[in-house]
C-alpha cells in the first residue's frame, strides 16, 4: 500500500466478518482443496476490506490468518504487497487517477489538477469531510481510453478536466455518474462509432 499516507488513526481492536461476509468467505475457502485453504487469502482480504469501509484493519489480518491457519506475517505480506488493499482508512470514494505514460500523454495532468481543485486535496490525502481520498496510481490497463481514473469499482475513461469535475460533482451530490467512456465512444471502439465490423450479431 504505497499510495495513501494517512493521518494518524486508531486501529480497531477487533474485527469480525458479518454473516453476509461469512457466506462469501465460506464460498471462497470451499473453492480450494483441503490443506490449500491459504489460497483464499486474497479474496478474504478483499471481503474484509469491503466490509470495513474500504480499508483493512490490522485485526482483520489476524482474523484471516487464524481462519486460514496462516502466520500473521504471511497475510500481512500479501496485504502490503498489493496496492489495492488499503491498510489505512480511506474516504467513501477512493479516487485513483492513472498517471502512467499513455494517460499522461493524453492529459492525465489536467485530470489530476481538476481532482485537486474539486476536492481541495493533494494526491495521498483525504478530503476534510471524509468523502474522497485522492491517489495517483500506475497503469490500470485501460490505455485505449486514456486518460482515465477509477472511483470505487468503476472506471471513468476518456476524461478531460471538465468531465472529471462533473463526475466528482455528481458524487458529491449523491448522484451516480455513468461509468465508462465520457465521450462519444462505445467501450474501446473508435470515437464516433465503429469503423469496421459495424453490424452486430
Amino acid at each position: 500500500m504505497s499510495g495513501a499516507h494517512a493521518a494518524p488513526f486508531v486501529q480497531p481492536a477487533r474485527f469480525e466478518f458479518t454473516p453476509e461476509s461469512m457466506e462469501q468467505v465460506d464460498r471462497h475457502i470451499a473453492k480450494y482443496p483441503k490443506g490449500r485453504q491459504q489460497s483464499a487469502v486474497m479474496p478474504l482480504l478483499d471481503i474484509a476490506q469491503r466490509q470495513n469501509g474500504g480499508w483493512l484493519p490490522e485485526a482483520a489480518i489476524r482474523v484471516i490468518g487464524e481462519m486460514l491457519n496462516m502466520p500473521y506475517i504471511r497475510v500481512y505480506e500479501v496485504a502490503s504487497f498489493y496496492t489495492m488493499y488499503n491498510l489505512a482508512p480511506v474516504g467513501r470514494h477512493l479516487v485513483q487517477v492513472c498517471t502512467t505514460t499513455p494517460c499522461w500523454l493524453r492529459g492525465s495532468d489536467q485530470v489530476m489538477e481538476a481532482c485537486r481543485q474539486s476536492l481541495g486535496v493533494r494526491a495521498g490525502q483525504t478530503s476534510a469531510d471524509g468523502q474522497f481520498t485522492l491517489i495517483e496510481v500506475e497503469c490500470l490497463g485501460a490505455c485505449v481510453n486514456a486518460p482515465m481514473m477509477q472511483i470505487g469499482d468503476d472506471y471513468y475513461e476518456d476524461l478531460d478536466a471538465g468531465s472529471t469535475r462533473r463526475i466528482l460533482d455528481d458524487l458529491k451530490a449523491g448522484r451516480a455518474p455513468a461509468p465508462g467512456p465520457q465521450i462519444d465512444r462505445i467501450n474501446a471502439a473508435p470515437v464516433g462509432g465503429p469503423t469496421t465490423l459495424k453490424e452486430t450479431a
Partner: protein, 687 residues
C-alpha cells in the same frame, strides 16, 4: 550423475546439484548473497550469474540444476560485466556507512564489492532510507542496509520454525520486518545475525564494542546445555567479546542457540575472583592459604562417611576426576553428579547416552519424546528434529507436557500411565513405532528426576527393546541431558559408591548432621538452604545459589577460561579451550582440587599438569581420548522395573534463559527472559 564442463574442467556431480554447487565442487568461487546451503533457494540477489553456452543470457547458477553436457563459464567478460552490473544495482540503495557499521570487516557485500564490483557508481540520486525495526533484545537492525536477500525470512520459517519475519511492501518499498515489529520468539534467533550478508541485522549486545580484526579467536565448546555446540570465542585482552558458532555437521551444523551466543556477558558479572572464608557468620575475603587452612581444619580427622561432594552442571571432566580422586583419598563414598536427582544408571553407558547421535535423527522415522521439551532443553536438537520432520514421513509422539514445538506431534498423554500403555502395546502410537524402520525414543530429565525415575527408565528400555530400537547399526534409545557435565560425570562414575548417598541423601544428611562437610563443585541448582548445618565448600565461578550457605568459597574458572574436556549428551568427547584467564585469584578448577589435596589427610593427588591428569582419566575412561568422536555404547540391562507414579512429567527446565549461574548473571539473558519468554508463554511454549 550429470557431467558438465566448468571453465574447461569436467565435473561429475550428483543428480539435483545446482550449477553453483557444481562450481564449488570444481573449486571455483561464485559470489552470492541470497544462496545458503541450509536454506531453500530464493534466487533473488542475482549475484551468482554465470555464463552458460547456448543460453541467451547469464543464468543464476544457484537456481539452475546442473545437467549433462552443460558448458559453464565463470571467468568471461560477460560474467564480469554481469556481476559488476548486479553489484552496482545492489549498491544503489546500500549506504556507504561501512566505517560505522558493525559488519565492517566481515561483510559479504563489502568483500564481494571489492572482488567483483566496479569501484565506482553512476548513481547520483538520493538513496532510499528505511526505518529501523524492533526485532527483540538480541537483534539490532539497520534496515537501510538491507539488500533483501531474504535469508533471515527463510531461516525463521525453515530452521527456527517461527514464521515471524517477512518482507512487506514491494519493489522499492520492500522492507523486512517481524509482524508489527514484535520480538522474534525463537531461541535460535541470533543465527540471523550470522546469516545476514550485510550489516542490516547485527548483534545488539555486541554493537560498537569491537572490530572483527581486533579480536583473537579460540575454538571451544558450549556448556549452556548438554549439546556441546561447537563455538568460536572471540576475545580482546581479558574480555570475551562474543561467541559465534563453528561448523560441525554432527552436532550443531552451523547454528547455536541464543543462550550459547549471548550469555557471555554473564562471564563478567557476579564473578568470584578471590577466596572467601566465613567468619562470625559473614564471608570475608581471604587468601588461598587461609581458605585451604579453614578446609583442612574442618575436614582433616573427619571420617569419610561425613564428607560429601556434588558436581554441578558446569563442572568439567578434569575437575570432576580430580574431585573424585580427592574424595576417594578422604574415604568418602558420597559423591554425585546428578544434581537434579535424575535416576540415571552409571553402570550401563548406553542407558544415559543420546545413542542415536544428533546426526542420527536424520535417519529416524518415528520418535517418541518422554518428559522433555527439546525446544528449551536443547534448541539445537529441536532444530534437527524439525529438519527431519520437514523431510516428511516422521511421526512424533509426546508424553509429558504439551509444549509448543516447531513441528506437529501426536500428544499421547501427560504421565507414566501413557508410557506404560505404549510399553505394553496398548496404545495406538505403539503401532507407529512398530511400523518404523528406525524408531527412536528421547527420554528427558523431566521423566527421570523423580521418585519413580528408575521405573520410567526401565519402561523406556522396554519400549526400546520391544519396538526394535536396538539393532544392528542403530540404537534409538536416547537420553536428552540438560547439563554439560552430566555424561562426563557418569562416565567417570561420579556417583555414590558402596553405601554412598545421592544428592537427596546428602541434603537430608546435612540437615540431620550425618554429613558434616559438603563440597559443591559448580553446583548451584540445589536447595542450598538445606545445607545450613553443614560445612560447605563451594568451588565455582559465580556468586550464585551455591555460595549462599558456603563456609569457604574457592574461585574457579568459567568455561571460557580453562582447557577442559566436555562430554555431550551423545557421549561425544570435545575439548573446550581457554580464551581468557580467570579473573583475579580464580584458577582452573582441577588445579584447585589438586592444590587442596596437599593440605588434606589423603595426601596430594598424583598429577601436576593437565597432561598427567588426562592420562589418568584415560586410564579410567578409555573413550575420553577419542576427541570429537562418539564411541558407541554396549546395550545392557538397566533401570528398575517397578511401580510408575501418577504425577505427570514436567520438564526440569522451567526458565530457559536462566538455567545456570552464567545465564543468571547475564543482563542479556535477563532481558530475554523478560521479553521473549512471556511472548512464548502466550503461545504455550511453557506448557
Amino acid at each position: 550423475m550429470p557431467t558438465l564442463t566448468i571453465d574447461g574442467k569436467d565435473v561429475t556431480v550428483a543428480q539435483g546439484t545446482t550449477v553453483l554447487q557444481a562450481c564449488e565442487i570444481a573449486g571455483i568461487e561464485v559470489p552470492r548473497f541470497c544462496y545458503h546451503e541450509r536454506l531453500s533457494i530464493a534466487g533473488n540477489c542475482r549475484m551468482c550469474l554465470v555464463e552458460q553456452e547456448k543460453a541467451p543470457k547469464p543464468i543464476a547458477s544457484c537456481a539452475m540444476p546442473a545437467a549433462d553436457n552443460m558448458v559453464i563459464h565463470t571467468n568471461t567478460p560477460q560474467v564480469k560485466k554481469a556481476r559488476e552490473g548486479v553489484m552496482e544495482f545492489l549498491l544503489i540503495n546500500h549506504p556507504l556507512d561501512c566505517p560505522i557499521c558493525d559488519q565492517g570487516g566481515e561483510c559479504d557485500l563489502q568483500d564481494q564489492s571489492m572482488a567483483y564490483g566496479k569501484g565506482a557508481t553512476r548513481f547520483h540520486e538520493n538513496k532510499r532510507a528505511v526505518k529501523e525495526k524492533y526485532m527483540g533484545p538480541l537483534i539490532k537492525t539497520v534496515m537501510t542496509r538491507c539488500i533483501h536477500c531474504t535469508r533471515c525470512v527463510r531461516f525463521a520459517e525453515e530452521v527456527a520454525g517461527v514464521e515471524e519475519i517477512g518482507a512487506i511492501g514491494r519493489g522499492e518499498h520492500m522492507e523486512i520486518t517481524t509482524y508489527l515489529e514484535q520480538a522474534m520468539t525463537s531461541e535460535l534467533s541470533g543465527n540471523v545475525i550470522d546469516l545476514c550478508p550485510v550489516g542490516a541485522l547485527t548483534s545488539k549486545p555486541y554493537a560498537f564494542t569491537a572490530r572483527s580484526w581486533e579480536l583473537e579467536k579460540v575454538e571451544s565448546v558450549d556448556v549452556h546445555d548438554a549439546v556441546g555446540s561447537n563455538i568460536r570465542v572471540d576475545f580482546r585482552g581479558k574480555e570475551v567479546m562474543r561467541v559465534l558458532p563453528r561448523l560441525n555437521e554432527d552436532v550443531n551444523q552451523e547454528w547455536i542457540s541464543d543462550k550459547t551466543r549471548f550469555a557471555y556477558d554473564g562471564l563478567k558479572r557476579g564473578r568470584l575472583d578471590r577466596p572467601y572464608v566465613r567468619q562470625d557468620g559473614r564471608l570475608r575475603e581471604a587468601t588461598w592459604a587461609e581458605a585451604f587452612g579453614a578446609i583442612a581444619a574442618n575436614v582433616n580427622g573427619l571420617p569419610g562417611a561425613k564428607i560429601a561432594a556434588i558436581a554441578g552442571d558446569l563442572a568439567d571432566l578434569e575437575a570432576m576426576a580430580a574431585l573424585k580422586d580427592l574424595m576417594a583419598n578422604l574415604g568418602s563414598p558420597h559423591i554425585d553428579c546428578r544434581q537434579d536427582g535424575a535416576r540415571l544408571d552409571a553402570s550401563v553407558r548406553a542407558s544415559y547416552l543420546f545413542n542415536s547421535t544428533i546426526a542420527g535423527i536424520d535417519k529416524a522415522d518415528a520418535l517418541l519424546i518422554v518428559g522433555s521439551n527439546p525446544r528449551i532443553e536443547a534448541p539445537i536438537v529441536n532444530a534437527r528434529i524439525r529438519q527431519r520432520w520437514l523431510a516428511g514421513g516422521f511421526r512424533i509422539g509426546v508424553i509429558g507436557e504439551r509444549p509448543e514445538l516447531t513441528y506437529d506431534y501426536d500428544y499421547l498423554g501427560a504421565g507414566p500411565g501413557t508410557l506404560g500403555e505404549v510399553a505394553s502395546g496398548g496404545h495406538s502410537f505403539a503401532e507407529v513405532l512398530r511400523g518404523a524402520q528406525h524408531p527412536m525414543i528421547i527420554v528427558g530429565q523431566g521423566a527421570l528426576a523423580r521418585a519413580d525415575g528408575a521405573a520410567v527408565l526401565a519402561a523406556a528400555r522396554q519400549i526400546a527393546e520391544t519396538y526394535g530400537m536396538i539393532g544392528d547399526g542403530w540404537n534409538g534409545f536416547n537420553v536428552l541431558h540438560t547439563a554439560a557435565s552430566r555424561v562426563g560425570g557418569l562416565d567417570l562414575g561420579f556417583v555414590p559408591g558402596d553405601g554412598g548417598l545421592d544428592v537427596e541423601g546428602m541434603l537430608t544428611g546435612a540437615q540431620s548432621g550425618a554429613v558434616e562437610v559438603v563440597y559443591l563443585l559448580h553446583a548451584d541448582e540445589l536447595d542450598t538452604s538445606r545445607l545450613e548445618n553443614a560445612f560447605v565448600i563451594y568451588q565455582g565461578s559465580h556468586g550464585d545459589n551455591g555460595v549462599k550457605h558456603a563456609d569457604v568459597i574457592l574461585p574457579g574458572a568459567a568455561y571460557t577460561e580453562k582447557n577442559a574436556t566436555w562430554i555431550n549428551t551423545e557421549g561425544r568427547v570435545q575439548l573446550g579451550s581457554r580464551a581468557v584467564f580467570p579473573p583475579g585469584d580464580a584458577r582452573e578448577d582441577w588445579t584447585i582440587v589438586r592444590a587442596l589435596s596437599e593440605v588434606l589427610t589423603g595426601g596430594k593427588l598424583p598429577y601436576d599438569n593437565l597432561g598427567a591428569l588426562r592420562r589418568r582419566i584415560a586410564g579410567a575412561v578409555a573413550h575420553a581420548t577419542a576427541v570429537g568422536d562418539v564411541v558407541p555404547a554396549e546395550w545392557g540391562a538397566f533401570g528398575q522395573p517397578g511401580l510408575l507414579g501418577d504425577a505427570p512429567f514436567a520438564s526440569t527446565v522451567t526458565q530457559h534463559y536462566l538455567t545456570n549461574p552464567i545465564c543468571r548473571a547475564s543482563t542479556i539473558m535477563a532481558e530475554c527472559h523478560a521479553v521473549i519468554e512471556p511472548a512464548q508463554e502466550g503461545t504455550g511454549t511453557h506448557g
